[in-house]
Symmetry: C2
Subunit: 422 residues, 2 copies
């Protein structure tokens, strides 16, 4: 089954909003074996929406549409769908009552203007099946026409996700036209695409014709994805063939691999810490709390994360982390000696088993000929063993440098943990 995704909204075309919905929907569809062939974004105008839906319908068996279902005047998707399906809006009472009850329950005053807004949101095209949205006011809609399924959903990401998970996926799973497709991904950090491509040249050349390798570079990280389509041979399933190729690939680049599929450096670290009953803490200068944020964005991080000190000024480094003033004077804030002292300080202060300390120049200002923008020192370890790492990520922009520093520092902690099993 082939799918097209259409995202609607002027904001996507003038670049004010980044389209994260498409990527998330595509992931879900892929997991079902549905191949997303094309994605299109169009503005909030009737002819553009209708043309995009029409074209997608001639090319795909599944058309997923997000956006343009809000209560405001610029949201016109329902009107466009009525034109396309040659139908009209009807009042869907169960939806109206669900919305009224919801707002009553959370104590909202329901005046006439507000109720009129809810009434608008309960008007749906006559030929659609309503898809319940329990986290917002815009319903999803399911249409079928000429063997193609059309699904329209609100553009607000968490509302769309709620509808996909609770309404769309269960319905699609009942559809029998799904073709086999299998992905396997290895995640690497601290190595470039060109280097990986060199080490995998022979492997890639000898891949079976129905398996494709893609290099997906990110900041200081590259994902290696094998995709297999169609049928495997008579003796093996497609999964078995891909798993075997993935294992072969892993052997070739194992030193760079930190995880698979949806792992992240912070999830891998979290898992190791939980297994060992360890705690951790960070002392951050140039990353400004970003490492702590990445760690604490993990569900369950409170089991192992003690906390962090963001020491943006030298006073904090001396007064709170206990770095000697003489160390800062002799070696500078961005030095092996300073990050080592910061690491020892944070481990003592927070009573954590392991930690990360980092100090560098994220830019655009602050660089010198000896220590240009992109220079960074990292220390990782425990109270007895510290390992330091010098980074030079090149003079890119501040955000990219912060992300690169964070990825490489997390990877260093991961490696320290693996090399120091007790």
């Amino acid at each position: 089954m082939k799918a097209h995704i259409i995202t609607i909204g002027d904001e996507l075309l003038i670049g004010q909003v980044i389209d994260t919905n498409s990527a998330w929907i595509a992931q879900q569809m892929n997991a079902l074996g549905i191949f997303v062939e094309q994605r299109t974004s169009v503005g909030d105008t009737l002819p553009q929406i209708i043309e995009a839906v029409q074209r997608a319908g001639t090319q795909a068996q599944l058309v997923l549409i997000t956006g343009g279902l809000g209560p405001t005047k610029d949201d016109i998707t329902k009107k466009a769908l009525c034109t396309f399906f040659d139908t009209h809006l009807v009042f869907h009472e169960p939806t109206y009552l669900r919305l009224v009850h919801y707002f009553e329950r959370i104590g909202r005053t329901l005046n006439d203007t507000f109720l009129e807004g809810l009434r608008q949101q309960a008007l749906l095209p006559a030929n659609c099946t309503q898809l319940t949205n329990n986290v917002g006011t815009a319903s999803g809609m399911w249409f079928e026409k000429d063997n193609t399924i059309y699904i329209s959903m609100p553009g607000v990401p968490f509302e769309m996700k709620h509808i996909v998970e609770n309404e769309v996926i269960p319905r699609l799973q009942k559809n029998s036209a799904l073709q086999p497709i299998v992905h396997r991904t290895l995640l690497t950090a601290g190595v470039g695409e060109t280097q990986l491509a060199k080490e995998l040249e022979h492997f890639e050349h000898n891949l079976p014709h129905n398996i494709k390798l893609a290099y997906l570079p990110d900041i200081a990280a590259v994902r290696l994805r094998l995709t297999a389509r169609g049928e495997a041979d008579t003796h093996h399933t497609l999964q078995q063939v891909v798993d075997d190729q993935t294992a072969q690939m892993r052997q070739l680049v194992n030193q760079y691999v930190f995880g698979t599929e949806n792992d992240t450096l912070e999830s891998v670290i979290g898992q190791i810490l939980v297994e060992r009953g360890y705690t951790m803490a960070t002392a951050e200068s140039c990353t400004g709390g970003y490492i702590a944020h990445k760690i604490t964005a993990q569900t369950g991080a409170s089991a192992y994360f003690k906390g962090a000190t963001v020491a943006y000024s030298n006073e904090i480094k001396t007064q709170i982390l206990g770095v000697q003033q003489s160390t800062l004077d002799t070696y500078g804030a961005v030095s092996e000696q300073t990050v080592t002292a910061m690491l020892r300080g944070i481990l003592r202060l927070y009573g954590a088993n392991v930690g990360i300390a980092i100090s560098g120049i994220a830019g655009p200002g602050g660089g010198t000929p000896e220590k240009p923008v992109g220079t960074c020192w990292v220390a990782v370890g425990d109270i007895n063993h510290q390992r330091t790492l010098y980074l030079q990520v090149g003079p890119r922009d501040r955000q990219i440098n912060i992300q690169a520093f964070t990825t490489l520092a997390l990877n260093a902690l991961r490696k320290f943990l693996l090399d120091n099993k007790e």
Copy 2:
């Protein structure tokens, strides 16, 4: 002038990578008065790429293409463009020499395999104008055919941005076919789309026909964007008309507005702090360093940001921030009393003028009937005046809750600063 953006890469269709390039390119084009009418993402297959380029060329006068120019086997954009333009690849010696010199300068060993890779990257379609990429190995390419301009660029965001800024924009600015388009955006926080739409109903209804209002909701924030196209009346420029409407709109919703255009809460706060010569610090529990990260992601934050303590455990709250154990025992970690004590603690510890302290339940675990997931207490202020805020952002996912807490806490600090001028 109408533009289409085409982003190429299987990774965009299986959802492993979010397409940020389209949004950024669209912003740049809009600033030039170029209207981006459609965005399409296609996979790494010749027929899909060729079909998308062909279709875009029949509808737009400018086709911007990113992706598929890497040195690896899955990158086939150049081949597709050669087919589309009925041409072939030729060796572009200046590009080859530039790449060789670059890698020599950074001390890279240039063996035969590596040089062969660079030679591949210097092969360009015979009919294109080369666009120099000083930050990577893949050149940009500029083509013209039947009055349409086609531009192909690498998909790596910072390489693409470099080429757009240094090569594409200067060339497009020389083009005379640009039509007038003007955008103005007001940024609000802490108010929903429905509420804003109610307060702006009359205003929106009376807008001139060539001006359109769009509501762009984000987490705990909504952007209000006015877009004017075409010509204004004989007495005023399009800019004047839009500025006048923007001022009218601002009067109606001024209490929610924190900035305009590309402002952020953290940039607005940074500006106020710099003007007053103030410093700030944060004490974070549930946001785990995300507020510190947002503040320090600003260029120049070191002028006013002293640092942060991420107090994920209660020990850190008592031992480092000086919260009384009895306060935690009586009121709990998520309470007005605790965040007030955290704020006083961080201000004393870091010697900062103002600060933010925050403690809440980001979920998915940790909620209770009295304090469900999404509950949060914030304190902002200086050593003499603290203002507290109770938040209930609803039971959404952990990431969204962290972002909502951060936005609302930053907005609270901004309001405190505005209300407490000396």
